[in-house]
């Protein structure tokens, strides 16, 4: 019974994740100041919200202020506002104060719903890149350490230990602060550098366990080259913790990126990010919708990732149960 409940929850989590992932990929399609289909001065444009043609900039402005030229029409996306579209007159509107902005606007008049949607893209983008990076580095180094042993292992273990003592948040904060021009790329590289030791430790432990198995010794005795042993025996059996760690890793990185953006040392200012939306609370403490909307978004994504991760872990390797 318990397992069934858990798998139902995990399924729900997977649905939520898929929803957010789709939002991330199709953010422009769903929420943009550019229309989905429009006709301007005799020319028809298809999906300008994806292509962003420059010549429509004036038209977009005219449409926003409700002054389209006669004969022009536009069919807008679901959320007809861009993430960076400011509107001083409409600043700090609570949700449902105006029909156009169901979730309200922030301090610079940007639509909260649109920013939340584009924020998905930021969070997932940084998280995916960072996780791929630290998984790659961590798995390779951990496997090398566990497999080769000796000096290599000592070096790898030491490095893991040294880097583990740096709090991730502080390390990434300092790196972003010291660099003269921090960007999203430097952010995910810094996060990857801070997180790879954890994966390396897991993979190394797993590889050590696998290597001690008789079938590996048998394979070596039969004359298999180290490469073959590594590829055909060790890696397939060490896969489980990597997959589980990947799931939890994405959740952690989403939290880290949100926290850093909240502290204003994460993504460059102006980029739509849930943490950044929350950081505006410090300037406008009364805007509760700026607290609720991004917070719920982060919570939804992180808890779904955790649910799916736990389900994966229970399926793949019950040993790791926490």
């Amino acid at each position: 019974m318990d397992r069934l409940r858990q798998s139902r929850l995990a399924f729900a989590g997977a649905i939520v994740l898929a929803f957010f992932a789709l939002l991330a990929v199709f953010a422009d399609l769903v929420a943009s100041e550019f229309p989905m289909l429009c006709r301007v001065s005799g020319t028809t444009y298809i999906l300008p919200n994806v292509t962003h043609p420059q010549e429509l900039a004036n038209f977009v402005e005219a449409r926003a202020s409700g002054q389209m030229a006669p004969g022009d029409w536009a069919f807008g996306p679901l959320v007809p506002f861009g993430a960076a579209q400011e509107s001083k007159g409409d600043a700090l509107l609570p949700p449902f104060a105006r029909r156009a902005h169901p979730l309200g606007t922030d301090g610079r008049g940007r639509d909260v719903l649109s920013r939340a949607i584009h924020g998905t893209r930021t969070s997932f983008g940084v998280a995916l890149f960072a996780v791929v990076a630290f998984l790659a580095v961590g798995s390779v180094l951990g496997a090398l350490g566990g497999f080769l042993g000796g000096v290599v292992d000592a070096l790898v273990s030491r490095t893991i230990e040294i880097l583990s003592s740096f709090p991730t948040l502080v390390l990434v904060l300092v790196v972003q602060a010291l660099l003269p021009h921090p960007t999203r790329t430097t952010l995910f590289v810094a996060i990857a550098l801070a997180r790879w030791p954890e994966i390396a430790r897991l993979v190394r432990a797993e590889v050590l366990v696998v290597v001690s198995n008789d079938y590996v010794t048998a394979a070596r005795a039969l004359g298999a080259s180290p490469w073959r042993v590594l590829l055909r025996h060790i890696i397939p059996n060490a896969r489980a913790p990597i997959v589980v760690a990947a799931m939890f890793g994405i959740a952690q990185v989403v939290l880290i990126e949100a926290s850093l953006s909240f502290l204003r040392v994460g993504v460059p200012p102006g980029t739509a990010s849930w943490g950044e939306m929350l950081s505006e609370l410090r300037d406008y403490s009364g805007a509760w919708w700026l607290l609720v909307v991004p917070g719920l978004a982060v919570f939804a994504v992180v808890s779904s990732l955790n649910l799916v991760g736990e389900a994966l872990r229970d399926t793949l390797d019950p040993r790791l149960r926490v």
């Binding site: 602060a177 190394r204 926290s259 955790n306 926490v322």
Partner: protein, 515 residues
């Protein structure tokens, strides 16, 4: 236990070194002043600008190699190199002459004894290059010093008369005489040995507290080195500030005025490097002065650290105090309604971002000074509580499923006793290790919580440092947090080993690699 402790502590030393290397590599992210494109041309054009640019680079030790210095430069090697360039009159002659003049009196014992061995033409060139030194020392007439015919002879005569003044015992005597009682005559003695006296003067400055003496020494040093120092009023200002400023300058420029002895040359291979210079200062806690408020960083760091680590400590304590009973409750009422609800609540807390919890708490917090410490700690507790109790619950369930617990139950031991004596004790152990690993996470969380509640700990001040481009503070902070985390890990390892002898055996047998 003692053997284990010693081994564990020794094991930590390379780790601490590794941490210092990583933090040092972080400092290299800070943009450096560019290398001077054509030093010779610049010196010819505007020596003052060259000096300023060179000083910028030297303050960051950019002229030194990064990790190993195979040919450490001291006053002797610099003087000899300068003389070679001047004698051959190549493209670098002008720069060499400029450098030689800067080296001053300290270079004379390495230049003048070999004076006669130079060819007459070279001798004249070197003698002319020494003219600024002579003028600074106030010996000889300008006409004599600048005259190609007479300069060489002047310096030969000078060395014959004065070479004894340029020895260590002599300079020690001269400086100590000045310290005992300043007078114009004694000051003149110092001026006449120029930069050769700097080493002794800096030594004296370390312990001096007498305002007027410090100021006199500072003026003499300024005269010899050409470094412009603003002299504070005699009545105002802390004279130690002037002394410390000079000592900081000496740390950078010492190798310009001092000849390394044998053992010094060997240690200089690692100490006269960028890493070596940085490490020596960091180890002594000298991180410089913050550009935000011009106050030294170390005291501020310590004050902030006290606040942050109290916050973290409180949070850790609270989370243990709450998590253990919760885990017990979960195990006792395993799979019933209480356990399920608890698991759900903990899961939600685990997925909540710390800054969200903090923002909610700061709005809910009632006004009052007691709240200012409690509520931030509470916010931090929530974060670590969730992961801790989940871990403990699992560990406890695992233990309670083992055979000896079944035996105990079968024997008729009360459930409470089973839970506490067997479950709790065995679940404690992995969580002790977890405490050590949690510390970096808690420190990161404390940064967030401090910012939201405006508590002036390390985190809050670091974010101000980010705004104010206070790089030295950020480096100091990350060094401190990494070191404290390592210490925390050592403590938790020791605690774990104390509780479980098997760990000691394992460690001592394998001598490390405890992944």
């Amino acid at each position: 236990m003692l053997r284990f402790s010693t081994r564990r502590l020794l094991w930590a030393i390379p780790t601490l070194f590794g941490i210092s290397v990583i933090v040092f590599l972080l400092t290299s992210l800070i943009p450096e002043p560019a290398a001077i494109a054509s030093p010779d041309a610049l010196v010819a054009l505007d020596p003052a600008v060259y000096d300023a640019l060179d000083e910028e680079r030297r303050e960051r030790f950019l002229d030194l190699p990064v990790f190993v210095n195979e040919h450490p430069a001291d006053v002797r090697s610099r003087a000899e190199e300068a003389v070679t360039h001047i004698a051959t009159d190549d493209a670098h002659a002008l720069l060499a002459a400029h450098n030689l003049a800067r080296l001053g009196g300290a270079a004379l014992p390495h230049v003048l004894p070999k004076f006669d061995r130079l060819a007459p033409a070279a001798r004249t060139k070197v003698a002319l290059a020494l003219a600024p030194i002579g003028e600074r020392m106030g010996v000889g007439q300008a006409s004599e010093l600048r005259d190609p015919e007479r300069a060489a002879a002047f310096w030969t005569r000078f060395w014959e008369d004065r070479s004894l003044d340029f020895t260590e015992p002599s300079v020690r005597r001269t400086v100590s005489r000045l310290l005992r009682h300043t007078s114009e005559l004694r000051e003149r003695d110092i001026v006449e040995i120029d930069t050769f006296a700097l080493s002794e003067m800096m030594l004296a400055l370390k312990d001096l507290h007498d305002k007027s003496t410090i100021l006199r020494l500072s003026e003499l040093a300024a005269h010899a080195t050409g470094r412009s120092v603003e002299t504070p009023d005699l009545d105002q200002g802390d004279p130690r500030q002037t002394a410390d400023a000079w000592l900081a300058w000496w740390y950078v420029h010492k190798s310009d005025y001092v000849a390394f002895s044998g053992p010094e040359r060997i240690t200089a291979a690692v100490s006269e490097t960028r890493y070596g210079k940085w490490l020596a200062r960091a180890a002594l806690g000298q991180f410089g002065v913050s550009p935000i408020d011009n106050r030294p960083i170390f005291p501020k760091l310590m004050a902030g650290a006290q606040i942050t680590f109290s916050l973290t400590g409180l949070a850790m304590l609270a989370s243990y105090l709450i998590a253990l009973p919760l885990a017990l409750l979960s195990a006792w009422r395993h799979n019933r309604a209480v356990d399920r609800t608890l698991a759900l609540v903990l899961f939600i807390l685990y997925s909540l971002p710390t800054f969200w919890v903090a923002e909610i708490f700061v709005r809910v917090m009632p006004p009052g000074s007691a709240g200012r410490i409690v509520w931030p700690a509470l916010a931090l507790t929530v974060a670590s509580l969730a992961s801790l109790s989940r871990y403990q619950r699992t560990a406890m369930l695992e233990v309670l499923g083992l055979d000896y617990v079944r035996t105990a139950r079968a024997k008729g031991v009360s459930e409470l006793r089973v839970l506490v004596v067997h479950g709790l004790r065995n679940a404690m152990m992995p969580t002790v290790t977890l405490a050590g690993l949690q510390l970096p996470v808690l420190i990161g969380g404390s940064f967030i919580v401090e910012e939201v509640f405006a508590v002036p700990g390390l985190g809050y001040q670091s974010l101000r440092a980010v705004d104010g481009h206070d790089n030295a503070w950020l480096i100091a902070t990350i060094l401190l947090t990494a070191v404290v985390s390592t210490v925390g890990l050592i403590v938790s390892d020791l605690a774990y080993a104390l509780l479980d002898p098997r760990v000691r055996e394992l460690f001592l047998r394998r001598e490390g690699s405890h992944a």
